[in-house]
């Protein structure tokens, strides 16, 4: 069955420090992969996506993610975190069965220390 695992429920980093959020997926075909960010009480905003080609993808707000097929991973990174990055982050995989839909991970809440 298709699934997405985000093993870290919470992560706390200091402002200016680097960040890596982990995501592992299970899907039999070539995956479409996404990272979304959600600020409190808001909808989800797409940070970046991977469909094919270069395995290192750049997104908005200085984020990047690397697709590693051998590890079934799509980890999100940022070299220097800003206080405004505090939010919840969701990884998702696009799957196609009777129709197209996204399977989301349970999310990682990022806290930023001043």
């Amino acid at each position: 069955a298709q699934s997405v695992t985000q093993p870290d429920i919470h992560i706390t980093v200091s402002e200016g420090a680097s960040l890596e959020l982990r995501c592992n997926y299970s899907y039999g075909a070539t995956p479409y992969l996404f990272w979304y960010v959600q600020s409190p009480g808001q909808g989800l905003q797409l940070l970046l996506k991977y469909f094919s080609g270069d395995t290192l993808v750049q997104g908005i707000k200085g984020f990047e993610a690397e697709f590693k097929r051998s590890q079934s991973s799509f980890n999100l990174r940022k070299p220097s975190v800003h206080w405004s990055d505090a939010a919840e982050y969701f990884c998702a995989v696009g799957v196609l069965d009777s129709s197209y839909k996204l399977i989301f991970g349970s999310g990682t809440r990022l806290l930023v220390r001043p």
Partner: protein, 114 residues
């Protein structure tokens, strides 16, 4: 450009009362439409999706239902709310061709059932 609207933004309803949440999309035709629920501190649970007018697929058995009376309108309903229906409800749309499958989310509706 495309926009997605949800209303109401917040709702407080007594147990046993009916529910109607509305989602409309502007600036696109024949979108795939989705309803998600996000319980407090939890990830996103796909409730319903629709690939066209009158076509609804249910992901999770429950006392909720969905309808798509127009191409860009998606409604989530219940005849009798339960306490467990409380949560943050998100509507999303996607188009498989061109955008390659990312979903775009509305601002959400916060539902509290008392």
């Amino acid at each position: 450009s495309q926009t997605i609207h949800q209303w109401p933004a917040t709702l407080v309803q007594p147990v046993g009362s009916p529910l109607s949440l509305e989602c409309t999309v502007e600036g696109t035709s024949n979108p795939n439409l989705y309803w998600y629920r996000q319980a407090a501190g939890r990830g996103l649970q796909l409730l319903f999706y629709s690939v066209g007018i009158g076509q609804i697929s249910s992901e999770v058995p429950q006392n909720l239902s969905a309808s798509r009376p127009q191409d860009r309108q998606f409604i989530l309903s219940s005849k009798k709310l339960l306490l467990s229906d409380s949560g943050f409800y998100l509507c999303a749309w996607s188009v498989m061709s061109g955008r390659r499958g990312e979903q775009f989310f509305g601002p959400g509706t916060r539902l509290t059932v008392l």
